[in-house]
Symmetry: C2
Subunit: 306 residues, 2 copies
């Protein structure tokens, strides 16, 4: 189709204004769900409303979801629609957050930030460090790019060990312990699936050197919290910076809040202020592709769940 596609932007409780503008930027027209060719989902907070809205749109062929990780929507992924997620859209701010957190851990800032007196030197360099990244998506792409001048030795762990460009070593998920044994930093940037749930447990933490920092910008469920607390108590790893937790938000009084070598950041790898312009650009691009019949960006594999 090269005429303007009709795109519903719902629900109205969400960020619909910037996304309506994106639809227009992409060459579409904003329409009601009843007459829409496509639906752009505008509110992060209410996945359960999606089936009811979608049922009112018999002509909808594409549904655009505004997140990279779409676990709350998995039960609603119909085969008769094309689903897109915002895969890689927020990769730059999230990858930057990884660099911030890795440096905060390695260079002692997690420690120094809590001191009220001059203390002794500590810290290691990220320059030249061994960085092992679980996941091979957009965040990893951007992280590898940001780390280039740091001359790290990068290991990528992914489902299949197809060589990752820019990595010194690529390992399959089943061989992950080999990628942890010499890591100065371990970054979790993979999708949460039944296969990767709890992927960092006692064996993985035991495999890491005692100075290793664990950075999680993926999902809280990737890390077995009891195993992490035990490893921290035993000084088996250097520490952890967790941008995602399980449960999330992390409840007041949770023991992770008071670990000396843990910093919690409240899921701010990508903040709304950073992300909305990026999402709008992604939606505009996909509306434009939908209009001319190109392959959409970020199509969800409904079987794999991401």
């Amino acid at each position: 189709m090269s005429s303007a596609p009709r795109v519903a932007v719902l629900p109205k409780s969400g960020r619909f204004e910037s996304l309506e503008a994106a639809v227009v930027d992409g060459g579409g027209v904003v329409a009601s769900i009843e007459e829409a060719d496509a639906l752009v989902w505008a509110d992060p907070a209410c996945p359960e409303d999606l089936p009811g809205i979608l049922a009112r749109g018999p002509s909808v062929r594409w549904v655009g979801l505004p997140f990279a990780g779409i676990e709350p929507y998995l039960g609603y992924l119909t085969d008769e629609h094309v689903w897109t997620a915002a895969k890689g859209v927020y990769a730059v701010p999230v990858a930057e957050h990884v660099v911030a957190c890795a440096l905060a851990g390695l260079r002692g800032l997690v420690h120094y930030g809590r001191q009220r007196e001059w203390s002794g030197p500590q810290g290691r360099n990220l320059v030249g460090a061994n960085v092992t990244i679980l996941g091979a998506g957009g965040i990893t792409d951007e992280l590898v790019r940001l780390l280039e001048p740091f001359e790290c030795r990068i290991t990528v762990v992914r489902r299949q060990a197809d060589a990752y460009p820019g990595a010194a070593r690529t390992l399959s998920l089943t061989d992950r312990l080999d990628g942890l044994a010499d890591a100065d930093v371990v970054v979790l940037a993979l999708a949460l699936t039944p296969e990767t749930n709890g992927v960092i447990g006692a064996a993985e933490l035991a495999a890491m050197p005692k100075h290793t920092w664990l950075i999680n910008v993926a999902r809280g469920g990737h890390v077995q919290v009891d195993a992490l607390l035990a490893a921290l108590a035993a000084d088996d790893i250097g520490g952890a910076v967790l941008d995602v937790t399980d449960p999330e938000p992390l409840p007041d009084g949770h023991p992770l809040w008071t670990q000396p070598n843990v910093m919690i950041t409240p899921h701010v790898g990508n903040t709304p202020e950073m992300g909305i312009p990026l999402l709008a650009a992604h939606i505009a691009g996909n509306v434009s592709r939908f209009r001319i019949g190109d392959d959409l960006s970020g199509v969800v594999d409904t079987k794999a769940g991401y």
Copy 2:
């Protein structure tokens, strides 16, 4: 001279073993001060002992100092010797610390690291930010290199406004306010001289946008502390990460310790663990240059004081 130069490594209270090894690596022989052609100063702690030791070495032509900033030695710089400082030697770890501190400020880690409960999103990107660097030495060289994939717009402020490679804009020190007015991050990486003492005062802080983070890895004396405390109290800047302070060490109970938007790191831009191998390589290189009559690296301008 191409025969092995005789190099004294003193005083013995310092890191003389690794530096004696560096002398040998550079093709020299370790000698007593009485018969030495050169003196490698091995102890950071006792500048006042230098004139007495040097007086015992009538053949010494070159004195190698182990620091980048050599203020404590300025009174002892004789015209009859060539003096070298470790200029740029520690630039990589210090530039890395700047990136760590800038990200910790911009991305909210100074704040989040002190929370004990889930809080709201804050933070800005370093990617694409305006970064103004005061100083145009080795740290700036390395910082510009590390920031390359972050695609910052870099302004360098230096004594004379000779265009700095890789900077979008180069300003002279007298025009510094122009370089502060649009800065998201201001980095102090310049030598402390009478001209630069207190270079960041009330006017400079007022010129910065309200979200700007100030990062000081140079010398505490560059920042007028009362003006900084006033600017922080009035929310005139975003915050400060100070790796150097005045006085240093920063005393217990100093108001900077308890500012919410300030992080103090205890002069760890370069730690001994990071720096000793770098210093040893620098000394070995200079011994080798001294041996074959090449220009030494890091020669001090005794008039300028760095």
